[in-house]
Every structure is written in structure tokens, then in C-alpha cells.
């Protein structure tokens, strides 16, 4: 895999890498870089920008981001695989994250998780056959006085009861 820092890269090759990214995403990433002393700091912003467009971070995005930030692909991949909110494989249109930390454990998140799994017919880490939902566990959402809590995409819900689940899922087509 080509990296931006290898000296034999020609300008054309570098352009090929960078121009895999959507022009708007390039613009967003370049804007983020201005907030920092060093472009590398925008790596999470860049990954999020790509994910916003594609739903996940495809392989081709890694060297493209590396090129625009002036760091190696290995460094970008290292960041992408460290953080749990960055997806390196495709996910469903909506991602359900069920909090399984202590506040939600004490208030019964396990029943909620079972109800969701049963309704959707998937386990943690899986995506429904129609590509609508991916189910993941998540660490404490900082919503502990309203446990059990869960997030669907960017929305946080709590306290959630088993009977809330069907209506809740209906909101996400």
C-alpha cells in the first residue's frame, strides 16, 4: 500500500490517493487541520468525515487521509482501529448502542439487550439482513440517572423499558 511519506511517490500518485476523497470532505478535513498546530490532530475528524459520508471507513480512505495529513497509512489505521466510534467494516443504516456499564446493569440493561436482539434477530456485532440496524454494546453513556440507556445513531434514550423497544425502533427506517 502506498503511503504519503514514501519518497518515490509521484505527484500523480499522491493526487490519486487524496482525490479518492469527496471534494467536500477534503475541504472539511483541510478546515479541521487549521485548528491545530500539527495536521495529524485532524485524523479523528478526517475519519469521522469519511464515515459520515459512507457509513464506515472503506480501505481506500486510509491512504487518502494519510496523504492529506502527511502521515503514514499505518498511523491512520492505528487511530482508526483504536477508537470504537470509527467503523472499519460496513454497518447498517442505523447503529444501536446499548450501554452495559454499571448504572444500566443495576437497572436491567440485560432485558433491554435481549428484547432488541430478539426483535431484530441479531447478536452484538451483527447487522440485520436488510441492512437497517447494527447492534453494539457501549461503555457508560453518562446518562446513569436515566438507566437503562441506549443510543440510536446520535440520539440518547433513557430510561428505556422492554415495552418501549418496538416503537423506538420504528422511528428509524
Amino acid at each position: 500500500m502506498l503511503t504519503a511519506n514514501t519518497p518515490q511517490n509521484t505527484d500523480t500518485q499522491q493526487q490519486t490517493l487524496r482525490y479518492w476523497l469527496h471534494p467536500d470532505d477534503q475541504k472539511t478535513i483541510l478546515h479541521c487541520i487549521e485548528h491545530y498546530r500539527d495536521a495529524r490532530a485532524a485524523s479523528i475528524d478526517a475519519l469521522k468525515t469519511v464515515q459520515q459520508r459512507h457509513g464506515w471507513v472503506p480501505d481506500e480512505a486510509i491512504p487518502a487521509i494519510a496523504e492529506i495529513l502527511g502521515i503514514s497509512s499505518a498511523d491512520v489505521e492505528g487511530v482508526a482501529t483504536f477508537y470504537n466510534m470509527i467503523f472499519r467494516q460496513p454497518v447498517g443504516r442505523h447503529v444501536i448502542k446499548i450501554c452495559d456499564s454499571i448504572g444500566c446493569f443495576l437497572t436491567g440493561y440485560e432485558d433491554i439487550a435481549s428484547a432488541v436482539q430478539q426483535q431484530l434477530g441479531i447478536a452484538y456485532g451483527e447487522t440485520t439482513a436488510d441492512g437497517r440496524f447494527t447492534l453494539l454494546p457501549i461503555s457508560c453513556l453518562g446518562n446513569c440517572d436515566k438507566g437503562p440507556s441506549l443510543m440510536i445513531d446520535q440520539d440518547t434514550y433513557g430510561p428505556v423499558t422492554v415495552t418501549d423497544i418496538p416503537d423506538l425502533l420504528e422511528r428509524y427506517i
Binding site: 490532530a41 475528524d45 487511530v79
Partner: protein, 426 residues
């Protein structure tokens, strides 16, 4: 938050909340409620060192969990002509300590309070750039902070020559992408630089070499939110708000199966009893308190008798635990303590950054052993193994505080509830 009568004189953090109508305070409303009055006063009448001295005198201690005196933390930052030209102030808004939901509240409801606190602190430290490192899941809070920064900039509270004082400051919201370890201040700095969030070795401390190798102070949201009131009403006033020798008020909370879980700003040093009974309404019907964590997953379990203690740093430390974030997690008598500890250790194992062995290898082992005990399939020697691992996780054997944090609930549960664990041994 449950209704309690608040006033500017008694509730520096939350008195403005009663003026909200289901939306965060915008700049105009904030200004009519003494907003940015502290900043005006500071820039007109105080030198940066005077601000630092006042924070020290106020006795403010870090609200992120460690309780380190804020003024002392600041005093390690180089000041004056010989200081590097670029210094940074970073707000730690990576709230993910299980059982903790106070910073989310402050940022969602009163974003301008944090902004004002950061500008005053930035002036005190002569740090012309500030970053708010906020966890990725706090979508609303991040949006509201961004909005507040835009408003503050337009009004001249941020940017160049703030209120004609000659002081310049820029603030940025940096959203994270998950991982509890980002709350460790040196891991946070690595993450902010766009690296994997592994903690850094200390020394050098961030005040000497932090973000991009420059002097950096990292403070928690609640800590910084206290700064405007300390400046506006004075350090003596702030000290006197408290019931104990630790100054000020604290955002206390209760979660678990209490009647009314919630969050309340109360004088530092109220008892756990008062928080649980008066504010959270006691335990739910039919449940009794078995034990509690005073301030997050990384604190030692305490017993019901410890509810009589003042919730301040020293009193809770004397009882063998830590006040941590000060948000209590109550465990009722219908819970299986082995399962509770297993859940806490699962969190710690998952959130280990993988850098050093006790945490990376030890914690999954702890989880497996606890799962076996839960199933009644524990082996002879398992309890000794858990006790030994809890020791291996103590400070001095690990690179950062994550390991000791994981050891706290494990070690204390083994001490307090040993027979429950023994029942799971074949």
C-alpha cells in the same frame, strides 16, 4: 435535576438553571444573569498571577476525580517572559466514568459558564489557545458548546484583544471517537494530537511538556465551571459555601435503584445519607442498600454505615475509598455482588488501552475468573488469584491510573463480601 431552591450566593454552578426553558442558556440570557461579569472584572482589575492566587486561596480541588488542588496544578506552568510563547488550556470533557453524569449536565444546560471559566483560566495561565476535548457520544453538548463559542466570539469575549485587555484567546471543540482512557490527561493529549490514546510517561508533566510539547494545563469541566463565581464573589465566599475543609459546592448524584436518581449541587461535605435519603428519596420500595461506590467505577466499595461520612476528599479517603467524581452508585440487596464486580471489571478490561501488562492481560483474566465463580464453577485458589491480581493492579505496577482504578472495586469487594465469592467455588 430535582427542584431545589438555588441562588447565585449558594449555588455557583447551577443557579441559572431555573431560568432555562428547556433550552440551553443563550448569550443574552447568560449576560442578564451575571454572565461574563467575572471575566470583565478579572480583565479590568487583576493580573494573571492574582487570578491564580485567588484560585489557590479558594481551595478549589479538581472535580474530575483525583481532587488535586487546582491552584497548585496551575502553579507548575511556566509564567512570565521566559515562558514559551504558546501554552495551552485543555478542558477534559471526556466524561465516561461509570456512574458519572455531571459534566454532560453543565455543558448541555449552561455552556457559556464553561466558556467563561476557560477564558478566565486561559488569562490566568496566559494560554492563548484552549481545546474542549469532549467525548464523541455527547452530540448535543458539543453542538451547544460550539454555538456558545460562536456567540462569545461575536460578542468580543473570544478572539484578539478581548474586552480591550490585550489578551487573545481562541477556543476549539474537539470531539473524540470513544474510549474511556481518553479521560486520563496524558492519553487525552495523545488523542488530541491525533494519536492512539495511550497514556504518556510522567514526568515530564503536561504543565512542562504537554500538547505538542508545549506547557499545558488539563482541567475537568466542573472545575473550570467554578472559576467565574470564585472570581466574582471571592475566595473567602467560596470556601464558606462548604460544610467541610474542602471548599465550595459539588455536583453530587445518585444512580442505581434509588427512588429518584438525579444530580444536585450541594455544599461540599454533606453526608452520603443526606444525598441518598433527602435528595434521591432513599432506595426503591422493597430494596435495601447493600453497598455503594462513592464516585465512579474506579472507587472502593463502601458499606451502608459509611453513609454517615461527609462526602469530601479526606473523609472518604480515610474510610479506604476515594470520593472520585462524587456521584454515588447504590447497589441494592437483590444484586449478586459477584455479578456487579464482574460488570465493573468487564468495563475496565474493555477500556484498557493495551499498553501495559497488568491491565491488558490481568483484567480479561479477572473477568473470566469472576464469570466462573458466577456460574458456581470457580476453582480452588481462584479467590487468592483475584486478590493477587488486585494487588498487581495497584499504583506503581501500572503505567497509568486505569489499573489501580480497576483494582479498587475488585479488592474492596473481596474484602467486604468474601463469602459471596466463596459460594461460587466448586
Amino acid at each position: 435535576m430535582n427542584t431545589i431552591t438555588t441562588s447565585a450566593e449558594t449555588h455557583p454552578l447551577t443557579w441559572r438553571v431555573s431560568h432555562l426553558k428547556d433550552k440551553p442558556l443563550d448569550l443574552n440570557t447568560y449576560e442578564t444573569l451575571e454572565g461574563f461579569a467575572a471575566l470583565r472584572q478579572v480583565l479590568k482589575t487583576m493580573s494573571p498571577i492574582e487570578v491564580q492566587t485567588n484560585v489557590k486561596k479558594a481551595g478549589l480541588r479538581g472535580r474530575g476525580g483525583a481532587g488535586f488542588p487546582t491552584g497548585t496544578k496551575w502553579s507548575f506552568l511556566p509564567m512570565g517572559d521566559k515562558a514559551p510563547d504558546q501554552k495551552y488550556l485543555v478542558c477534559n470533557a471526556d466524561e465516561m466514568e461509570p456512574g458519572t453524569f455531571k459534566d454532560r449536565f453543565l455543558m448541555e444546560k449552561i455552556p457559556h459558564l464553561l466558556i467563561e471559566g476557560m477564558i478566565i483560566s486561559g488569562y490566568a495561565l496566559q494560554a492563548s489557545k484552549g481545546y474542549i476535548f469532549i467525548r464523541g457520544e455527547f452530540v448535543d453538548a458539543a453542538r451547544r458548546l460550539q454555538q456558545a463559542i460562536t456567540e462569545a466570539k461575536a460578542a468580543g469575549y473570544l478572539g484578539t484583544n478581548i474586552l480591550e485587555s490585550g489578551f487573545n484567546m481562541e477556543l476549539f471543540v474537539h470531539t473524540g471517537a470513544g474510549r474511556y482512557i481518553c479521560g486520563e490527561e496524558t492519553a487525552l493529549i495523545n488523542s488530541l494530537e491525533g494519536r492512539r490514546a495511550n497514556p504518556r510517561t510522567k514526568p515530564p508533566f503536561p504543565q512542562v511538556s504537554g500538547l505538542w510539547g508545549k506547557p499545558t494545563v488539563v482541567n475537568n469541566v466542573e472545575t473550570l465551571a467554578n472559576i467565574p463565581a470564585i472570581m466574582f464573589r471571592g475566595s473567602d465566599w467560596y470556601r464558606n459555601l462548604s460544610n467541610s475543609k474542602d471548599a465550595g459546592t459539588k455536583l453530587y448524584g445518585v444512580s442505581g435503584r434509588a427512588k429518584r436518581p438525579g444530580l444536585w449541587e450541594l455544599p461540599m461535605g454533606v453526608t452520603g445519607q443526606e444525598i441518598l435519603e433527602e435528595y434521591a428519596g432513599g432506595m426503591q420500595k422493597g430494596l435495601k442498600l447493600m453497598c455503594w461506590l462513592p464516585g465512579g467505577a474506579s472507587t472502593d466499595f463502601l458499606l451502608p454505615e459509611h453513609l454517615q461520612l461527609a462526602m469530601d476528599y479526606d473523609s472518604i479517603a480515610k474510610a479506604g475509598s476515594r470520593m472520585g467524581t462524587g456521584l454515588m452508585m447504590v447497589v441494592d440487596d437483590k444484586q449478586n455482588i459477584v455479578s456487579v464486580v464482574r460488570n465493573l471489571e468487564q468495563f475496565c478490561a474493555r477500556e484498557s488501552c493495551g499498553w501495559c501488562t497488568p491491565c491488558r492481560d490481568g483484567l480479561p483474566w479477572v473477568v473470566k475468573t469472576l464469570q466462573a465463580i458466577e456460574r458456581g464453577e470457580g476453582q480452588a485458589g481462584d479467590i487468592e488469584l483475584l486478590q493477587q491480581t488486585a494487588k498487581f493492579l495497584l499504583a506503581g505496577t501500572t503505567f497509568c491510573a486505569h489499573g489501580p482504578g480497576a483494582g479498587a472495586p475488585l479488592g474492596s469487594a473481596l474484602r467486604l463480601f468474601k463469602s459471596a465469592f466463596e459460594q461460587g467455588i466448586k
